[in-house]
């Protein structure tokens, strides 16, 4: 040690390259574990499905371009497993960013109506012929729907509305979007529209294609990246908007980034999987203690946690009901809604 120290040309500069007072190692391990869990669930998801194929056949199918195993592995199992990761990451990080922006654990793409509005946009594209013109129009419409509802929340929060007002507005937006979805589907020229309505309203990863993945993944990734640029501002918001402003943060820019990032991520996820709720509520809440309750540090872990949760839920729906009677969004809502109520009760108890 002594020889090392004396070899240092400037002994005063020793030990100053890292901030020693703020340990991050626990959090780093948690993040690594989340990534590992997400990958494990995605792998399990790949091996689960109604077709009775062995693991060897599926892995072989992944690397071959003909035969039944190849079609199932490449065009059914792989998109589904990867989409679960994308959808979960998009929803988890969106929830973390919205909770940071509104400084409230109840904010979430589903609760704030962003998911149902995205679903409404997707349905317009799907059943009124736009998606047939160009497959890119499906995510575009979903993102437009998400952006519309997120913008309403943005305008309300800029006008100084409280968090409860925002959440209640979100509830109203969600009801309206759901009603419009039902109306659009009953008016749709497509005779199968009504039967697919439930899938859009509740969300499912059944029968997704590589094309769905190809649109959803980059859009969701851009959305999450935009959210992560708002992270610093979200940290400053721990002290409220006025202090954040006094710390040199442009609050309007932070709000815009969260709105656009959430719209892109949630819109892309919803275009691929329909409206899956409560992922963005549950995941950041469970992870928050592991990251010192700091909103900025929570965004990427919430993406990983969301990916793990949606993958696990998508495995569960296939194990519980192999014939597809249980939709992904039904399961997340059955778990998430009681969690939401529990959160409200707990918040009421605290001063």
């Amino acid at each position: 040690m002594d020889s090392l120290a004396s070899a240092n040309p400037n002994p005063l500069k020793r030990n100053t390259s890292r901030a020693t007072v703020f340990p991050v190692s626990h959090a780093a391990w948690t993040t690594a574990a989340l990534a590992a869990v997400a990958l494990v669930f995605a792998t399990i998801s790949f091996f689960i499905g109604p077709a009775h194929l062995g693991a060897g056949d599926l892995i072989g199918g992944l690397f071959s371009s003909h035969g039944m195993a190849s079609i199932i592995a490449r065009e059914i199992r792989l998109p589904r497993a990867l989409l679960a990761l994308v959808v979960g990451a998009a929803l988890g990080s969106s929830g973390a960013a919205l909770q940071g922006l509104f400084r409230n654990p109840l904010a979430e793409p589903g609760v704030t109506g962003v998911t149902s509005s995205a679903g409404f946009g997707a349905i317009i594209a799907m059943y009124f012929g736009f998606a047939a013109l160009s497959p890119a129009l499906l995510p575009a419409f979903a993102i437009a729907g998400a952006l519309a509802s997120a913008s309403i929340l943005y305008l309300l929060s800029r006008a100084g509305a409280g968090v409860m007002a925002l959440v209640l507005t979100g509830v109203a937006i969600a009801s309206l979007a759901t009603a419009l979805t039902a109306l659009a589907l009953s008016l749709a020229p497509n005779p199968y529209a009504m039967s697919e309505m439930v899938m859009w309203m509740m969300g499912s990863l059944k029968d997704r294609t590589l094309s769905d993945l190809a649109f959803a993944a980059p859009l969701a990734a851009i959305g999450i990246l935009i959210l992560s640029t708002a992270a610093r501002g979200l940290d400053a918001l721990v002290l409220g908007e006025e202090v954040a402003h006094s710390l040199g943060i442009n609050i309007h820019s932070v709000r815009r980034r969260v709105v656009v990032g959430v719209a892109l991520a949630t819109g892309a996820a919803t275009a691929a999987a329909g409206a899956v709720s409560f992922v963005g509520l549950v995941v950041p809440h469970l992870l928050r203690p592991f990251y010192g309750y700091e909103p900025a540090r929570l965004i990427w872990p919430s993406a990983l946690g969301g990916a793990a949760l949606v993958s696990a839920a998508d495995i569960a729906v296939r194990l519980i009901a192999p014939d597809g009677q249980l939709l992904l969004g039904v399961l997340t809502a059955m778990l998430g809604a009681p969690f939401f109520i529990w959160l409200i009760l707990r918040m009421r108890r605290e001063p």
Binding site: V238, L239, E242, G248, I249
Partner: protein
């Protein structure tokens, strides 16, 4: 040296005037108290200085430079602000909360530099908060939280410190301690501007007072001059008792409504 000056400043909300032609100077190394009844414009004045509210007329100068000419980050390094209802929205660790005060000095994504860490520890120590720096904000008492939140503002090491009604929710011992901390900041050369309702604290701890009423300055100067019986009657509609204690400033206690 004048750290902050307002010249003929008027501002308001939605057409309602909250400040009318306010002229005031705040010097480095002094504690200035902003006092006045509710709605007198004390918080509005702070909001104008922070750039949260645009002036309708007049000019605010920060360290000699017009407020509007300051870049966002430079202004954030020059003025630290502790609001009235300061609370942490998430129960982060006290030390990490104080570290938020270093944000104006840090590039995005940059970790805390050694000088940042030093400023954080120093601010914690000055506020006597180092012993619970590793605890979460929701595990602290109100007095402890107030000290951590002040330490956050001090960690910025800004030459101007704005504090909005810091004493409101604190017991007398904590009030005194907080005012002593503000005096210590002034002794280090900071221009401290603090809004206060408590006339006793204002008269005892402030080098000068700016008395506002209905958005206008009605008196200005050292406590014994600014808080004359006539000003108290005009601004607050009260009379006061004065309590001197050998050699120190006379403290003033609100006594009776007029």
């Amino acid at each position: 040296m004048t750290a902050l000056s307002l010249e003929n400043v008027s501002a308001g909300y939605h057409g309602r005037r909250a400040l009318s032609a306010v002229t005031a100077e705040f010097a480095a190394g002094r504690v200035a108290g902003l006092i006045g009844p509710n709605g007198a414009g004390k918080t509005t004045l702070l909001r104008v200085v922070l750039g949260l509210l645009k002036t309708e007329q007049g000019e605010v100068r920060v360290l000699g430079q017009p407020l509007t000419a300051w870049p966002r980050a430079g202004l954030a390094r020059s003025i630290a602000y502790l609001p009235q209802t300061a609370e942490a929205n998430w129960p982060i660790l006290a030390r990490n909360l104080v570290a938020l005060g270093r944000m104006p000095h840090r590039a995005p994504l940059a970790p805390l530099s050694p000088s940042d860490s030093e400023a954080v520890e120093e601010a914690l120590a000055r506020c006597d908060a180092a012993q619970f720096a590793a605890r979460r904000m929701d595990e602290l008492s109100a007095g402890e939280r107030a000290r951590v939140l002040l330490a956050r503002a001090l960690a910025t090491q800004a030459p101007i410190l704005l504090v909005d009604e810091p004493a409101a929710h604190l017991d007398p011992a904590h009030q005194l301690r907080l005012m002593e901390l503000l005096r210590a900041e002034a002794a280090r050369g900071v221009a401290v501007i603090v809004t206060l309702h408590d006339l006793a604290l204002a008269s005892r701890f402030c080098d000068e007072l700016v008395v506002l009423k209905s958005g206008e300055v009605v008196a200005q100067g050292p406590a014994d001059k600014a808080l004359s019986d006539a000003t108290l009657a005009q601004a607050f509609g009260i009379t006061a008792q004065r309590a001197g204690s050998g050699g120190e400033r006379a403290a003033l206690v609100a006594w009776r409504r007029l």
